[in-house]
Symmetry: C2
């Protein structure tokens, strides 16, 4: 890592001044929408609309090109027809614009003329030093800066802030394609690097290693252009924060599809696997895991080991959770004699791990108290490093009392927990999830994914130990 | 299969008269709630409350025991303290009650006295011929009969009717623990067999093979008591309808947990794997897949082969879907020259499989029409056996037009399709899912699971061919 690399991407993620170079047509112009999104999202820096056909856009003075602005510009968002883009980037470079994010499509991924235009961009980057993200990207969300670069309609004003940087090579990671808010993903940044003509995963790792808002990096990758650079950057990041990787283009057909949409050349799966091992990255195996597994790192302390307490409300779920826990590298904790004694006082049915609270909750007069005491006993056991705790979230009236119970429980405890919500009414379950996540408690609807998240947390602790040797 | 076996479970699933033997305390009594649920669910048969302390419950005459009823009873739902249960079952048998469903817990799964009580039940079953489901079960949901046996509060009056029988050894499959309605699972039956003191998975397979409402059986299993019986029953069912199996207790710790909640003895994983192969069952690998994979069989025709068309709205999702498709045993179809020509007329960007509609949809004036024409072209290709089709469901106003488009598209087409919904607003996505499912179109939020469902459909066709040889 050379000094100053972080600052390169700071202009992308934390700009003070943005030029939007795009159609400013009222309502539907992509530049018009971009500015609208920035304002709704709470961006407080300067915004310069750039379009020769307008004097004013949304109350802002519009300029015919960036050279006219006469003020420093950190980031240019460029959404113009591909043939016009190289000249615009050249102009940005000469006007001192530090960073350009090219949303426009039809470059290398389209082949032919588009590929030639992308080669021109690479040449300009090399010659002038301007940094370019894209083309073919929807760019960045940085809730701390009120930054959103997607030029499409975004229904929500903001997302749940948290510690996960979600990085990708596809716009599918973005705020129009994922219910970021409804799922309460705890987001520090999202970023789509698109065709990676300049900025790529190595730059992201270097920037995010130093980003104080980011506690974990989740990265969707179709290819890595610079294997050695990736491993070096990852090995600098991983001692500070975990790196989760979801590799797409694993199959031959997948790799071919990848080549046709970002001109990526996905390579040999074994080569990648070995690179990820050297990098200290943890692989996740699905798009769902890419989103869900990082939650646990956003707010939770790291576990001291891999011994898990599993509290379910049905025996059947406990068995499934146990299988998944073991398959994710966890060990089912043996409760201490003291814990067993405490639990036996409540009910002999609670003295196993997985602990099934169901029979007690359905008959006990003081079910809420027993639940809280049972969870506390499991969490306080010295043989327990982490815990997966079921909660019934199937009714609206349970949301507040259950959230309050968990907040109380975790106030003076520092074990790693994931909460798994089940029940009969999905809106109540989702609302409980949002409220728990807002309290820094990672909450899952799919309990097997919750177990995998704990497994990843325990695995990360091992990786850090290996790195320290 | 002996003749008449089906009728054994018909008394459980399609009773004309039910006795509810339980607490009838106003509002909170488990019998009171069971009767309330039955009425809300639309059960139109006779209901007999059985409780010596009441003359009338919810406007129904109450009896002190079943012998007093004097009318034929198909099913007794028993929710009384365990020590009282054997005598009650004995009484049921002597009064001609055909089937008893024992909801009460604390039998074999609790060990000690409970285990002894369960042995008594087994003895009564053998001696009298009464059939018993449970103990330790929440029983059955059969929407066609308005039947629900769970004694807990159930917020919805009914579920989405469809072709999937969800069978389980845990109450976690039931209407209080899963958002059956919100997820629009297409349900023919749900059934928890609990401790399996009598009725078990073999009976279920025999009954469901002949059940005209069931097009696919999804089975969660912790153990199989009678391996040979299971294989025989499965081999009778599988030529008619697919059997999907989710095996829990795969790990040693999971098997131990299983023993402590239903007294199941989970066995060697390889033995199970071989039994499932002989049975022609398709294994699913997670609780989520257990619920989601069967959807495709509920309404869709079987594919002729495994060649899939993938239509995504982002290149990145297309790559991920392709990987999953290949890993699920599908082959990415090569579009015919004719199809390629049709697609090229719309845009050269559409002439690949996976087909990425994103670039067209974001710029085209007539995006809806292009989407419909593009999907039609892919579906009509003779090289395509099945298709996974992305749809943007992120905004409320898109729900109706998109559902209508798919209904139109599938009206005169008979390829196997799954629809994958993505977008930014979860409530809109879930609503689209419910509406599509109501139209007999399997809809997924997680697109990798959608691909796995198509893979299972193609696999089932292979299994049937193998069975026919």
């Amino acid at each position: 890592m050379q000094a100053g690399q972080r600052s390169d991407l700071r202009h992308f993620f934390e700009p003070d001044a943005i030029a939007v170079i795009a159609s400013m047509k009222d309502g539907s112009g992509l530049g018009y929408r971009t500015i609208t999104n920035l304002r709704n999202f709470g961006f407080r820096g300067r915004i310069y609309p750039i379009n020769p056909y307008y004097d004013e856009v949304l109350g802002l003075k519009s300029y015919s090109d960036v050279t006219e602005v006469g003020e420093p510009i950190d980031l240019a968002i460029v959404i113009t027809p591909p043939p016009t883009v190289p000249a615009i980037i050249e102009q940005c470079a000469h006007s001192g614009v530090k960073a350009a994010l090219i949303v426009s499509e039809n470059f290398a991924e389209a082949g032919g003329e588009g590929a030639e235009l992308q080669r021109e961009l690479v040449e300009i980057v090399r010659r002038t030093g301007i940094r370019v993200m894209g083309p073919n990207t929807i760019g960045i969300v940085n809730p701390a800066a009120g930054l959103i670069t997607a030029p499409y309609y975004v229904s929500y004003q903001n997302v749940q802030r948290g510690g996960v940087a979600y990085c990708s090579q596809t716009g599918f990671v973005g705020p129009t394609a994922q219910p970021l808010r409804d799922y309460a993903y705890p987001i520090s940044k999202t970023c789509d690097v698109g065709n990676k003509c300049d900025v790529n995963e190595v730059d992201l790792l270097n920037y995010l290693a130093d980003d104080p808002d980011t506690r974990v990096v989740a990265m969707h990758l179709e290819d890595i252009r610079d294997g050695r650079g990736f491993i070096e950057a990852a090995r600098r990041l991983v001692p500070r924060k975990p790196l989760l990787v979801f590799k797409a283009g694993r199959t031959e057909a997948g790799a071919r599809a990848s080549a046709s949409h970002t001109s990526s050349l996905a390579g040999d799966e074994q080569v990648y696997d070995s690179a990820f091992k050297q990098a200290g990255a943890i692989r996740v195996r699905s798009w769902q895991e890419f989103w869900e597994v990082p939650r646990v790192f956003s707010s939770q302390p790291l576990p001291r080991g891999n011994r898990v307490a599993i509290v379910s409300h049905t025996g059947g779920a406990g068995v499934v959770a146990t299988d998944t826990a073991v398959e994710a590298g966890l060990t089912v904790a043996s409760f201490s004699a003291e814990t067993l004694e405490k639990l036996a006082e409540m009910s002999f049915r609670l003295t196993t791990n997985p602990m099934d609270m169901g029979p007690i909750l359905s008959v006990a007069e003081n079910a809420f108290q027993i639940q809280e005491d049972g969870l506390a006993a499991a969490l306080d056991d010295p043989n327990v490093d982490c815990a997966a705790l079921a909660v019934y979230g199937g009714l609206e009236q349970l949301v507040s009392p259950m959230v309050e119970m968990f907040v109380r429980l975790m106030q003076n405890r520092s074990k790693t927990v994931v909460i798994w919500i089940y029940g009969m009414r999905l809106p109540a379950m989702q609302e409980m999830r949002r409220q728990l996540e807002a309290q820094g408690l990672p909450a899952y609807i799919d309990f097997e994914t919750a177990m995998k998240a704990l497994g990843a947390a325990a695995r990360y602790v091992e990786i850090r130990r290996e790195f320290e040797r």
